[in-house]
């Protein structure tokens, strides 16, 4: 797959984390900070996974060494 697309996918994953955090902050407020924290943590986990699988391939200069 095109490197740019892979890179955009990785960036989109982390943009999704930011969006999730902002939306959660808007919609839940301070009612339950644990419940607010969990979706953000889940979004980070997803973005991390995308980064490990996708973005790392774009930037991994040492591959094959």
């Amino acid at each position: 797959m095109n490197r740019v697309l892979l890179l955009l996918l990785g960036v989109a994953a982390w943009a999704g984390v930011a969006l999730t955090a902002v939306l959660i902050t808007f919609n839940i407020g301070e009612k339950n900070q644990i419940l607010m924290f969990l979706p953000i943590l889940a979004a980070v986990a997803v973005a991390w996974g995308v980064g490990e699988v996708v973005t790392e391939r774009v930037f991994n200069r040492d591959e094959g060494e």
């Binding site: 982390w14 930011a18 955090a21 902002v22 902050t25 301070e30 900070q33 924290f37 980070v44 200069r61």
Partner: protein, 222 residues
């Protein structure tokens, strides 16, 4: 003269192993992630109240920053009995100067948008060290103005994140941003431009290459 020469010689002292193991090795990146998320979330929530909340500081009908003006006025007030909120006279003079010049109108934007930006940057792990530095600076100023609240905890956590700036964003955008953009003392792949065909790129600020224990700092000299 020899004393001065020794005092100011260019000699880098290496961090001890335990410090590097905690703050320069990615094995503790998950812990730093949690710390980062905690303060990032707190900053985002605090900033969201000021930007979008019902009692927001900015974009209100009338002059902006009236809430900040009230906060500053309470901070600089010296009560007849008891201790004033601000311990340092120079800091009280500083806030008084900003009050007298109505700086709260634009400073409210700086604080509100700054808190949102710091919060998002810490959550997504982009430029974590810089974001934590700005965050700690805001906590410092709230503390100086006499507001304890959660600021002491936030300040300490922000300092830990600053110490671990190389690895705090490992689970985040910094994992690729730092090698690409580099540091002021070591340019990254973007600053160096495209590598020649077939030539291996010289090492970027190598937060990614921890398996070989090459940090972003140059080798110690002297």
């Amino acid at each position: 003269m020899a004393l001065f020469a020794r005092a100011f010689e260019k000699r880098e002292l290496r961090d001890p192993g335990i410090f590097r193991a905690i703050f320069s090795n990615v094995w503790l990146a998950p812990i730093l992630l949690l710390l980062r998320l905690y303060i990032g979330y707190q900053f985002l929530m605090a900033g969201a109240h000021k930007v979008w909340g019902g009692e927001r500081w900015i974009a209100v009908s009338g002059p902006d920053g009236l809430a900040l003006k009230g906060y500053w006025e309470r901070a600089v007030a010296i009560p007849e009995q008891g201790r004033p909120p601000i311990s340092f006279d120079w800091y009280r003079d500083f806030l008084t100067f900003m009050l007298d010049h109505s700086w709260y109108r634009w400073f409210a934007w700086v604080i509100a948008l700054g808190e949102v930006a710091v919060g998002i940057a810490l959550i997504v792990g982009a430029f974590v060290g810089v974001a934590a530095l700005f965050g700690a600076f805001m906590n410092f100023n709230f503390l100086m103005a006499g507001s304890a609240s959660i600021n002491p905890v936030m300040f300490v956590v922000a300092m830990l994140v600053i110490f671990g700036w190389k690895t705090a964003g490992w689970i985040g955008l910094d994992r690729w941003l730092l090698p690409a953009l580099g540091t002021p003392w070591q340019p990254g792949s973007v600053a160096r431009g495209p590598a020649k065909e077939g030539a291996r790129e010289p090492s970027a600020p190598d937060i990614r290459d921890t398996g070989r224990q090459r940090g972003p700092h140059p080798s110690p000299t002297g």
